[in-house]
Amino acid sequence: MHLSEGVLSGPVLVAGAALAAAGTAVGLKRLDPDRIARTAMLAGAFFVASLVHVPLGPASVHLVLNGLVGLLLGWPAFPAIVVGLVLQAVFFQFGGLTTLGVNTLIMALPAVIGYGLFSRFLQSGRAAALAAAFACGFLAVLLGGVLVGLALSFTEEHFFNVAVAVILAHLPVAVVEGVVTALCVGFLRRVQPGLLPGRPPAEVP
């Protein structure tokens, strides 16, 4: 899901960087001081998740966890993902520094959308919460795939073919992500329900 350097055209890089910067600013503004630790924790999880390697077909893919990050954070997912991506680029050469903005947008925007759509279900019944978590993880990756297709379409000619290929390629990862997100949410519901959105922060121990 990380776009490498030298793939995208200049205007796409600049537009991506501008939008990502705006999202990060909003995220930092909405970052409640009590939630800094949580944000850092999820940034760490995001940073490490990219190393979890899932062999699928000819390509090798890795977890993204942007759905989980978004679901638990909302807008602060932007700064969390930026930090994770910078460190991945520097330490693992995933993506790159010039594509940082675009990559941030690709992963953080679906995360925030997932938060808006699904976070309200997390405190309802167990089945509904797990289904919402699965949907959030699934959709976050799939939307990311759509954004990748869109970004590539400005550089490559056959937009439709590229977009379809990218989305198809992301489908299995999306399923894996959905399952992982549901597992995490199920675990948190049992162990630390205060971490899930939809509860007043006062209840967080």
Binding site: H2, S4, V48, L51, P55, P58, A165
Partner: protein, 189 residues
């Protein structure tokens, strides 16, 4: 500290899943070398999986495409040298995975005289037992190519960056540091 233990569990799970395979994904590497009149390329994902059906494009210095082809089952693609000048080989493994490898004129043998054309003309003139310079050069090059092949292979393996635990720990340290910085700044306000 239950959240922290959750994170630890995640990291442990990640480490457990990753390290036995020594694998990490999402970056492709391309390695190319010259053997006689042929350029060989090898494309891999960092965990050693070969890139199948990857598109290899060969560009000249101005970025014009000279030829292209697909990698085979073992991630290899070979082609005859199209022109003895600076070339750039680009691998596009789809979905934004891309790597490139420059080949200089010297590597392609462009600096020396054209290797084969004078040889047949000169050969009858010299004594039958002696080799002409051109022939000698060719034979040497062939032998060297053959002898150096394992070294080249080894280099191609060394060329790949490996995942190091120090990097992971370092990255997590950065995140903790940034969180501390953010908390401090929010508190001052």
């Amino acid at each position: 500290m239950k959240p922290a233990s959750f994170l630890c569990a995640l990291i442990a799970a990640a480490a457990f899943l990753v390290f036995p395979a020594g694998a990490f994904a999402h970056r492709v590497t391309l390695f190319a070398w010259v053997e006689g009149d042929t350029v060989h390329t090898e494309s891999k994902y960092p965990d050693g999986t070969r890139v199948r059906e990857g598109l290899i494009r060969v560009l000249d210095r101005e970025g014009r495409e000279l030829l292209q082809g697909k990698t085979n089952e073992r991630g290899e693609f070979s082609f005859p040298i199209p022109r003895r000048e600076d070339l750039r080989i680009v691998l596009e493994a789809g979905m934004g995975h891309r790597a490139d490898w420059p080949l200089t004129r010297e590597e392609l043998g462009g600096a020396g005289p054209p290797p084969s054309s004078p040889a047949p003309a000169q050969a009858p003139a010299t004594a039958p037992a002696a080799f002409s310079t051109a022939e000698l050069e060719q034979a040497l090059e062939k032998a060297l190519d053959r002898k150096l092949a394992p070294v080249v292979k080894l280099l191609s393996e060394l060329h790949e960056p490996r995942l190091r635990i120090a990097d992971i720990v370092g990255g997590l340290g950065w995140i903790i540091g940034l969180a501390g910085l953010a908390a401090w700044m929010k508190q001052r306000r």
